[in-house]
């Protein structure tokens, strides 16, 4: 079992000009590790992370989009796996942090922690899928994962993290949305 923040520290070494879509616990960890204008944090409704990512990927096929979604969030929008597979954006890499819990909502378990997201994504039609439980393996493979022609899906099996400070007003600051737009819109 890995820790989410450790995975994100490794991932951050490989991030350059990608849009990174992150929400809730993933966003808290990611922003602490890698604050940057190209972080897309204002999702508006739980579960829509993957759909926002698809829109960004379709809108800028010349740029790569990385989605950092939680397991509870993806469960609210499982159909998006089918939509994304059908739309087939080559530039979308979709991670799910699978910690078995609704961490931002009190740590209650998701309905079935044994759910196999990577298999669901594969069956939905993603071009490549991965499943990581070992940090060293993730570190060895992450560059390869990011280089694959998408849509790419990867489950990160992680422990529930230490208590986080959910500063939503800061995460959803309108100035962050303005900064993202300025950094992302076509030149």
């Amino acid at each position: 079992m890995m820790k989410r923040d450790e995975c994100f520290r490794i991932l951050a070494r490989h991030i350059t000009d990608e849009a990174v879509v992150a929400t809730y616990s993933s966003a808290v960890d990611w922003v602490e590790i890698n604050p940057r204008p190209l972080n897309y944090l204002s999702i508006g409704a739980m579960g829509l992370d993957s759909s926002h990512g698809l829109g960004l990927a379709l809108g800028r096929p010349d740029r790569r989009v990385v989605v950092l979604q939680g397991d509870g969030s993806l469960l609210m929008n499982l159909g998006s796996l089918v939509t994304i597979a059908a739309a087939a954006p080559k530039n979308l890499v979709h991670f799910v942090a699978h910690n078995d819990t609704y961490e931002a909502n009190g740590g209650h378990p998701i309905p079935n922690p044994a759910v196999d997201f990577a298999n669901i994504a594969r069956a939905a039609g993603y071009a490549a899928t991965y499943d990581f439980s070992d940090l060293r393996m993730f570190e060895q493979q992450v560059a390869h994962v990011l280089e694959q022609q998408g849509p790419v899906f990867a489950t990160l099996h992680v422990e529930p993290s230490k208590p986080l400070n959910y500063d939503y007003p800061a995460l959803y600051d309108p100035e962050k949305r303005k900064a993202f737009k300025a950094a992302w819109r076509p030149g």
């Binding site: 897309y40 508006g44 829509l48 759909s51 829109g55 998006s80």
Partner: protein, 181 residues
């Protein structure tokens, strides 16, 4: 803005051309159509749009996905129209609340009113689900336009242009099945 019932009933004897609506959508710079099929707009809008090379149609599994996808496209300076049924609109209220209203994004929705009597305004509908659509839009502060006859189609392009210029959502309520061109 709601037309008086008498004039709306008169207009209800008119027709609505799918080709006219599609021309207005194209003139508005819409490149992406995001949709779950809706029986009111199925033959007259979605079917021809699916075969129209000027559009990229993204078929989604559930209507609220459209709200996120349209937001991502808007940040990328790409214009999208969401084509759904009023039941899907109702199901997507929280996404519309967060993304379209609170984040003030140009989310453009074309909403088919299932089983609506085109001789009536949406507020006069015998269908509860149709009757509550306009009051919900009003409460959320979302601009909306009732499109039931060809004379209404002229509202589409300026409303979409305004939505993108001022970054706010807009809804078009389709009151009768558009005819296939």
């Amino acid at each position: 803005m709601e037309a008086p019932a008498a004039s709306r009933a008169e207009a209800g004897r008119g027709e609505l051309s799918g080709g006219g609506i599609i021309a207005a959508i194209k003139a508005s710079g819409i490149q992406y159509v995001l949709s779950v099929p809706d029986i009111t707009t199925s033959a007259g809008l979605l079917a021809p749009i699916a075969h129209d090379k000027d559009f990229r149609l993204v078929r989604v599994c559930k209507e609220d996905e459209c709200i996120g996808i349209a937001a991502g496209l808007a940040y990328s300076d790409r214009r999208a129209l969401i084509l759904i049924q009023h039941t899907g609109f109702l199901d997507s209220i929280n996404a519309i609340r967060g993304v379209a209203v609170e984040y003030k994004l140009p989310i453009c929705m074309m909403v088919g009113l299932l089983q609506h009597d085109p001789d009536k305004t949406p507020r006069q509908s015998s269908r509860y689900g149709v009757r509550i659509v306009e009051p919900i839009l009003d409460d959320m502060g979302i601009a909306h336009h009732f499109i039931s006859v060809d004379a209404d189609v002229g509202q589409i392009k300026p409303a979409i242009e305004e939505a993108y210029a001022e970054s706010h959502p807009v809804a078009f309520l389709i009151g009768r099945s558009p005819k296939q061109s």
